[in-house]
């Protein structure tokens, strides 16, 4: 790959919660138009890593760069303002709000009627429906429907469409396919590819090798909080990836690699066993 400035770059990022070290010395680049699959066993630190990217946590040490410029997020809003959008597992977080209203939470369109500024429901609904239909979800055609009435895949799609609509440059998806059936999951994967095609950098967390292989350009594997592998599509076989995702248990040499890595971090208590 030619040397271009990464949209988002981590350099030697560490994160600990009090005495518990969760992330060790992570250096990672995320490029535009690329899907980065973040893999690893339960408790490996994937969610912690993306929460750090999204401004939920502050790194204990290390640096983050966007377009080569050093950034530091005090709160999730800061990351969102820079174009980092996180979609949570169940997509819509406001089950009892309508599609139009939830799409615009915090950035409601208004119109003037006399001295009053009124929530513009029509514009909100139309924009939301149009945004999600552009992603091929034509079944959503009424902005007055409640989020809670959509299927899991539709909710994910809507959340992704929302992020893209508001100009996200980095899209973070934490296990978006976890609770979905085969058909719904493939819907979401297709939308991930569509977002990538539009030039977004996508960070995609999954426990399913098939899903990772289907959309990933770039793979990063976390084992007990350390970056155990970082490779491009086609550089490793499906079996190797599966082993890595299982926490590297099948790869003895990798384990020792990690251990030596730990030793260079004196003062850190041994990571919790999983």
């Amino acid at each position: 790959m030619t040397e271009k400035t990464a949209v988002l770059e981590l350099r030697n990022v560490n994160k600990s919660f009090g005495p518990i070290d969760v992330l060790h010395d992570i250096s990672l680049k995320v490029n535009a138009g690329e899907v980065l699959c973040l893999l690893g066993d339960n408790g490996a630190g994937k969610s912690t890593l993306i929460k750090t990217l999204a401004g939920v946590h502050k790194p204990t040490s290390g640096e983050m760069f966007m377009d080569g410029e050093k950034v530091s997020f005090e709160r999730p809003k800061d990351a969102a303002d820079r174009g980092i959008a996180t979609v949570h597992q169940f997509g819509g977080t406001f089950p009892l709000m309508t599609i139009g209203r939830s799409f615009f939470v915090g950035v409601e369109p208004t119109k003037r009627i006399g001295p009053f500024r009124i929530f513009d429901r029509k514009t909100a609904n139309e924009t939301a429906v149009k945004a999600v239909q552009e992603f091929g979800i034509t079944r959503i055609d009424d902005g007055d429907r409640l989020i809670g009435g959509l299927s899991g895949g539709e909710r994910q799609s809507l959340a992704i469409a929302r992020a893209v609509h508001f100009g996200a440059r980095v899209l973070i998806l934490d296990e978006p396919t976890a609770a979905l059936g085969v058909k719904q999951a493939s819907h979401v994967l297709r939308i991930v590819l569509e977002a990538k095609k539009r030039g977004l950098a996508v960070i995609f967390i999954t426990h399913q090798v098939t899903h990772a292989m289907a959309v990933g350009d770039h793979f990063a594997v976390l084992i007990r909080g350390a970056l155990a592998a970082n490779f491009m599509r086609g550089e490793k076989s499906r079996e190797e990836i599966t082993d890595l995702m299982a926490g590297g248990e099948a790869l003895a040499d990798l384990d020792t690699e990690i251990e030596s890595h730990m030793e260079t971090h004196e003062g850190h208590p041994p990571p919790p066993a999983h």
């Binding site: 999730p76 809003k77 969102a80 949570h88 977080t93 406001f94 089950p95 009892l96 709000m97 209203r101 939830s102 615009f104 939470v105 915090g106 950035v107 409601e108 208004t110 009053f116 500024r117 009124i118 929530f119 079944r139 055609d141 009424d142 007055d144 429907r145 409640l146 809670g148 009435g149 299927s151």
Partner: protein
Amino acid sequence: MDIMSAFIRRPATASVLSLIGVLLFYFIFGGVDLEKLGGAASWLNYAARIGIVAIPVGLLMISGEIDISIGAMIPAGAMATAIISGYYGLPIIFGILGALGIGVIVGLINGVLAVRTTVPTLIITLGTLIAMQGIVLAGSVILTGNASVPLSAPDWAKTLFGQLIFGGSHQVVIIWWLAFTLLGWFILHQSRFGNWIFAMGGDKVSARNAGIPVDRFTILLFVLTATSASFVGMCHAILFNSAQVSGGMNDIFNIIASVVVGGVLLSGGFGSVPGIFIGTITFAIVNKGIDFTDIDRNWSSLIIGVMLLAAVLMNNRFRNMALNYVPRKKDKGGSAK
């Protein structure tokens, strides 16, 4: 068909049906004279008393919090007015400001505790409820040596807050209630702040991440609930020319029951101002309308309980229908699940 389903998806539907149900019940089994009931002031006055507080309490509940200290704030507002302007004889404006000021202070305490701690607001406001009951009782006994304080207000204050209107026995607070309702409707359903309130009730963390000033809004809503309650107390003191110490327990349950009958979800995120409005009317008619029937007043609690359950069950049912509502069937076959 479409009109029917649109009706059912509205949060106010159950309260409309409850109201119709109650009227039918009183008509069929109580032999009530609907014309007489419609012209009567008792239930409207009562609806205004609880309705003024029910609107902000409803908004607060939609935002995912609850305030039961309102029970103590109605007598607190009345007492503050009567002590300041009745016992000490200061101009009524000081009594009015004193009553509203107490509401603001207690609301601020509730709100700040709510956003600074993780204690459920039911418990926080239970604390301020009991504390305020103590302050009101001890304060009035220590300051005035009495648990009942007389007050005589000048004409302008009477006109604004404590008059009978329509030449009959309707109280001017009814107009305040309508104004509160209109304002609440505008805030919740027409302004962008309404969207924030719904979002806060749906998921506080996501709402905060979306840039909504959740803490400031929570505090503001608590100030509104407490102040609206002390406002009602102040109006009553001016109307009845006196204030008494009371626990206000009935008001708490009646206000929250009105809000819940009106389709507001106790856990937040769902509800409407028209629903709260009709819920309040329904509740007031059940409570006061029974005097216009042949039914013995002692049955009223039973009727209220049954109506409450029926309304809540209907609300649940309709909310689920709204959730599962899919618009018109698509022409393409196979897309239906």
